[in-house]
């Protein structure tokens, strides 16, 4: 199987056109508008409004907690204070909208792909608007982000976007307005894919912009040091955000079934080395397999969800399956 990578740093074109390319599965031709196509992708998932896992202040009482300096004194339960001479805050169970923060990795390694663009896009286009003939991991991450944004916006929840590499390169503020989806896709389409990844720094920068608790969805290949990722997840956990780690990988990155000795050149500035792939395949597979398994283990150890996405697979079915599973888990945790 041939593998190809796009030229790093190439800016992308208009979001309108790109949205159609990213979101459509093989049945795209039978669907009508863009919204209908997105809805088709998540069919079965949006069966009803979900119950928020976050405890707000507006609906029904849930419990008390001791006052700590800095708490809003408007939520003090004065009746408890009068009886016990102690300050407690009232907490409520509220059904609220979901704040989704989608973080897309735009580092150089995301520019690798081995799938034909024409086959992946499903709209008959042989190349991307910028002339690429391959479907990269970043293309797949863009499609994934667009789908998630669409679903969230369809629920009336707020969606924000952060595109990062060694730092946050572009951020779209959270909003539940309808144009938000186009803003998200537009931002992804115009992003240059290059540089290295610094997850810790990016998480730090993103969390600094978020004041309330959010669901962070990080879409990346996670080709980072596990210790760096562990520190970033610890910060997220400390801020009590929920998180879903979606690791996007190209099938060839795991199979590594090249037939001929060739020089290999890194997309993030690594040195070039000539390698006989057949000779090193087993060792390579051990390396990357160990890393992928380590990422999954690490993410799950923090109680977060981990989803591995193959850029050669269609996005709809696995995404729908995952969201259904997640929804069921939330309901079980609430009632049980």
């Amino acid at each position: 199987m041939d593998s190809r990578a796009v030229n790093a740093g190439m800016p992308r074109t208009a979001p309108t056109t790109d949205a159609a390319l990213y979101l459509h599965p093989q049945t795209l031709s039978r669907l009508g508008s863009m919204e209908m196509r997105a809805r088709h992708i998540v069919e079965g998932v949006m069966s009803g409004m979900h119950r928020s896992p976050y405890q707000g202040f507006s609906v029904e009482f849930a419990q008390h907690r001791p006052y700590v300096p800095g708490d809003d004194i408007r939520h003090l339960d004065w009746k408890v204070y009068g009886r016990t001479d102690k300050l407690h805050l009232k907490q409520y169970q509220q059904e609220t909208s979901l704040d989704l923060m989608v973080m897309v990795d735009a580092s150089g390694s995301m520019n690798y792909g081995s799938r034909d663009f024409a086959e992946a896009s499903g709209v008959g286009a042989a190349t991307s608007p910028d002339g690429r003939s391959i479907w990269t991991k970043f293309d797949h991450a863009t499609a994934l982000a667009a789908a998630l944004s669409y679903i969230t916006l369809s629920q009336g929840d707020r969606v924000g976007l952060a595109i990062f590499a060694d730092q946050v390169r572009e951020m779209v503020a959270r909003s539940s307005a309808q144009p938000q989806w186009r803003a998200v896709v537009g931002a992804l389409s115009c992003t240059t894919v290059d540089r290295t990844t610094d997850v810790g720094r990016v998480i730090e920068q993103t969390l600094a912009k978020i004041t309330n608790r959010c669901l962070l969805v990080i879409i990346s290949d996670f080709f980072v040091e596990l210790e760096q990722l562990r520190a970033a997840l610890a910060r997220v956990r400390h801020r009590r955000h929920d998180m879903i780690a979606m690791q996007v990988l190209d099938r060839q990155e795991l199979a590594f079934d090249f037939a001929h000795a060739s020089p290999f050149e890194g997309l993030e500035g690594e040195s070039r080395v000539r390698i006989d792939p057949r000779a090193i395949r087993a060792a390579y597979q051990r390396e990357i397999g160990s890393h992928v398994a380590g990422v999954e283990r690490l993410v799950r150890s923090f109680g977060y969800d981990y989803v591995r996405v193959d850029s050669h697979d269609w996005l709809g079915p696995p995404l729908a399956a995952y969201l259904a599973q997640r929804n069921a888990q939330i309901k079980r945790s609430k009632h049980g």
Binding site: Y112, K137, E253, F264, L267, I275
Partner: protein, 737 residues
Amino acid sequence: MSFLHPILAGVGLACVAVPILIHILMRRRRAPVRWGAMKFLLAAYRRQRRRLQFEQWLLLAVRCLLVAAAALGIGGLLWGGGGETGGARPVVMFLVIDDSLASGAIDPTTGETSLERQIRAARGVAAQLNSARGDRLGILAASGPARPVLMPPTVDLPGAERVLSQMTPTDSAVDWAGAMRILGSVEASDGERRMAGLFSGWREGSLLDFSGVEAPGWLERVITSTPEETVIDNATLAAVEPMRSVVISSGVLGDEGGGLGGLDQVRVLVRRSGGWTDEPGRVDVRLSVQRGTQRVALGEGTAIFSRGGIEAWAVINADLGALASGGGVLVAECGPDGLAGDDVSRRVIELQRSLRVGLISEGGVRLPRTVLEFAPADWLRLALGPEAASSGEREIETVLIDPSGVDRGRLVGLDAVIVAQPSRLASGAWGRLRAFSDSGGLVVVFPEAGERVQRWTDDALAAFGARWRIERETHDLEGAIMREVERGAGLFSAIAGELAELARPVRVERVLGIDAESGVALRLEDGSPLVAVWRPGEDRRGLLVLFSVAMDLSWTTLPTKPFVIPLVQETIRQGVGLARGEWSEVAGSRPAAPPGAVELRPHVGGGLTLRVGPDGRTEEPVRQAGAWRAVDGAGVLVGSVVVEPDRRASQMETASAERVRGVLGGLGVEVVMLESSREGVVEREGSGQGAMLGLMPHREKWSLGLAMLTAALILAVVETLLARRVSHATVRREVAG
């Protein structure tokens, strides 16, 4: 190992470079792959780098070896198979085979002759030649005189090998110098590699006369066989010495007409060589006489060797006098040993009823009344015929010849001539006497008894070419006696034991001074010669005997003493035999034939008939020992000729390889020594480039080629397995995680 074919070697080396070139070319051809998960690829690469590099180098080495082995294998097959040789120069090989007497030596362990071994070795070398390349083969026989057997060299290698296998040992000694001269006469052409193979057992008998032998300048290399190491015991019959070569025979068994006791003593010299000389030993010798096809046994004797002795005599008493008159050949033989060629020795003898002696003196036939009236001729007649009083038959007939009538007609039929009055000879008589001597006659000269001044001496010396100085005048002595005998001339060898006793009563009062450096048979007390002997002819025929005293009482008391009879009788009997010559030559020479002979016919069997040339010798050299009858133009027998083995070649002592190498080093050309075996010829030792230039046995070359091809096949399998392992082509596709 060196390459016979440099071009093939170059191609092989170029082929070794092919895997390297492919490796380099493959490195440059592929476009780089831009890879996302590079950090894991680099990590895997760093872990595997040393192993990968080792495997790659190992694979490259295996591939290079594979190509090299295949090239050498194919090259080996080509050499062995006589295929194309990549433009290598054709080889001209001259095989010089030692077929001398020594080559007949038989290995006691195998029963094989040295020549058979050398021919096998030579065929092994010849088998390396490639007629398709234009290789040629020439063959020379080295037994003296060396001769070309197959010249000029031919490309018909099978035919040449047949010629080689038909060679047989001769009885002559090896003639390396002659072989090299023949090689030197070959016209060398450019573009050929010229080599010579000297094949010999290299025993001492084959290392004769090698000093000064040089190889032709165009000869690139000499290949030679290894010296034989097997110890061979050999007895050589070195000589047969009858008491006289001219025997007076009565034809009656037991008759005492032989002159000295009836039976004649025949001595046979036996010489031994090889490994048995440190111990005592004995060799039995049989004696017979060959006359035409008839062989008559005469007796047997034994040569007894002491410890360390290498020569011994076998003495055989034979009644030669009982044989009928005529020519014949004495044949001595000993039992079979390691070398059969020298187990026979022959000697020509002549059997006569009587000897005819011409006595040149004035006075006619008369018998003096008193001793004082005896002239020298009278004393001589008495000494020549002492038996006349008791027997009417004379063994020595005396013919009186007047000094003025010495001509060719008077001399015909005489065996000897005694000149009792040399001053009376007519002019030119000395020349006729010289001619008589050259025909095998004996000339005995006494001084002129009645003259102080001897005027004849200059004419005599001039006619016979004797290197003597003879005084013009006689001088007196005071009772000098004979003092010693020089045995060198052999004239008085039969009476040597009794000579001193017989000579003691003899007084010499007057003498003609003779200054002779050699050839003195008897001397006087003062050392001056009494009897001097001179051989005037160049072919060991004819004899001049000069006495320094006249047979006269005024000179000496000899005529009245008993010594006179044996002295005169032995002078005539032995002198006639010596004057006749031996008619014996060694193999390898052109034998001289008796006067009048035009052809030599073998005594026995249908051997080679030899024609006699104008110079009195056979037209062709004779390399086989044997006995021939000399016949004249009418087919009448005029004598016998024997050819003896050249016993110099009989020395069976082994020579070390170092010695042979040292001797051959004088050729001035690179020498490669081979080792012969039952399977063929292998290189034992090389110099320079290791040479032999691939002249190894076919089988060995084939086996080398096959071995290399087998190695190439094994390497190919190893390469396949190694390549699959290195490339991980057999690893199943597994997806991490």
